[in-house]
Subunit: 333 residues, 2 copies
């Protein structure tokens, strides 16, 4: 096979929201797999907030992507050629593929998709890492209980929409915060939230939360940090739990927002916990089995925002930080 691997390399570290100017494209012959390796054809790439930190130096939980190297990114690929005993041509697998069309990777770095759990679209969507993040955040970190009054920020986003649906499945009242009327309609009508708050339309977010959650909040699942977190803290009920999952509002803040309402934790015997999905990596199978079962029952969906073609990946990253996506952002190759 004479295949060309189209790649996007990190060319310049961004100072604000990433754009195509931060990347350069190149093309080279796909590398023939060595022993234990497989040659892949990328099908989907996932566009996630954490990728911004990988583009900068020393700001994240993982090493930065070196300048001039393929941008790091997870996704789903089809095996074209295999020298690994675990994979055969046609298999679908997920891995840190990088932003390239035809990566060659060690088989041990791939996870074969279990297609009895769901399709490739399910694996990038409601069985993907965003969904798994929501599962551990709501259940393990947030210790969700039937009847909880739940509040979720970035409720239309990749993690948020699964968090909202988990709250419904668990028998909770749930309110979502999102930016704009269209996202709020999606949160209320398609995800089934009891109410949606459009943070862009509200002058006083804390008052809006009080109106939407008149009994207060037992469980706040935070994907944004900053003033939204502060506003939610003011509405915590007795024994409330706050899950620090993401802080997308702070990614490009010129200076970090200082959270003032921590005194609420003593007043209500509340607790707050942060996590990364990798803290639970040994239990991903458990999460996917649960998510797949709820999907089969028709109780769990994930809207994907699909962009077409590798060149859209940098554009998607910008959309994510401007809040222009509705649904989990993926690139289809």
């Amino acid at each position: 096979m004479l295949l060309t691997n189209h790649r996007l390399l990190l060319a310049a570290r961004p100072s604000g929201i990433p754009s195509p100017a931060n990347f350069t494209a190149d093309a080279m012959p796909a590398r023939t797999p060595g022993p234990g390796e497989v040659l892949l054809e990328t099908v989907y790439l996932s566009i996630d907030p954490a990728m911004r930190s990988w583009m900068s130096e020393g700001t994240g939980y993982q090493p930065s992507v070196p300048l001039g190297e393929v941008m790091r990114g997870g996704g789903i690929a089809r095996v074209l050629e295999s020298r690994s005993e675990e994979f055969a041509p046609g298999d679908l697998a997920q891995a840190r593929l990088g932003w390239q069309t035809h990566p060659t990777l060690a088989g041990r770095h791939l996870q074969k998709l279990d297609l009895t759990l769901g399709t490739a679209e399910d694996w990038i969507g409601p069985l993907g890492l965003s969904a798994v993040t929501a599962y551990f955040g709501m259940r393990d970190v947030g210790a969700i209980r039937r009847g909880d009054r739940v509040l979720v920020s970035a409720a239309a986003g990749g993690v948020g929409q699964i968090a909202v649906q988990i709250a419904r499945i668990e028998g909770c009242r749930v309110v979502g915060i999102a930016g704009g009327a269209e996202k709020c309609a999606f949160v209320a009508n398609e995800l089934g939230a009891d109410a949606a708050i459009d943070y862009r339309a509200e002058k006083n977010l804390s008052s809006a939360i009080a109106r939407a959650c008149p009994e207060g909040v037992d469980l706040y699942f935070d994907n944004v940090g900053g003033p939204t977190l502060d506003a939610a803290l003011a509405r915590l009920r007795e024994d409330a739990r706050v899950v620090l999952c993401g802080r997308i509002s702070q990614t490009h803040a010129t200076e970090p927002y200082g959270v003032r309402n921590l005194n609420r934790f003593a007043a209500v015997h509340g607790r707050m916990q942060g996590f990364l999905v990798f803290n639970y990596r040994e239990r991903y199978d458990e999460a996917r089995a649960w998510l797949a079962a709820r999907r089969r029952e028709g109780r769990l969906n994930q809207r994907l925002h699909v962009l077409q073609g590798l060149a859209q990946a940098p554009i998607g990253l910008g959309m994510l930080f401007r809040g222009e996506n509705t649904g989990k952002l993926v690139v289809r190759l």
Copy 2:
């Protein structure tokens, strides 16, 4: 008996640190107890940070003290005359006595001191509510584990000094933060902390914590809030716990400090919990049994800072917020 009850009434709500000008003294005949009541002679009054919030309108967890009424405060008293079947003259009891020398209270609002656990001085000190607060904060909220690297702020204060000693008893390395060389010497030499940090002498508290806790902090017991909390958050280790017990640095802040380092919680899978000792009121006996046993073993002490006479109570409150006390502040009548 013709006894005079000397009282201190709240005369004006403070705008900053309370002073004697916020109170007026009066005297009236002690009230003869009715059915179920007892006439008491106050022996000790406890001076605690929470009292400041009781002096203001609508800022605390409990209703404010109305102007013109006796200042609220807990303490220990001796029964002089009883019309309650549960009390006899000479019994010692603790209660919300108020700032008065001879209160008459319903017997059901008193708790008789179990003198097999300790003396009256023990009950205002290492068996008192500050000590009980440290017990639940370190053990239940903080989930202290053998080998934890523990950091305690206001380590020379009423709650802090017990927290430091609990950490030692539980087999932990413990560092205390206090203000001034004398308090730090007390924390290191008498409480047995492995190191003490004088926050008044340090330009960069976070660096000072890094030097004193080179492996980071597993458990931070926070009595002060504000910039000290922020500095400690920057040093949290994997699976760290933060106990929000007090926030004395913020009581008189002109505007609330915004805490910036919450991102640390996601990075280390850390959690933070606030509490009030009243959350654990049904388990006070358990706490006192544990504290009394450690006291009998000679492993637990509490230094009291004793002022003499009711008129000193308002002065003590000012000392507390200026950090002028070394040890738990009490007034002996």
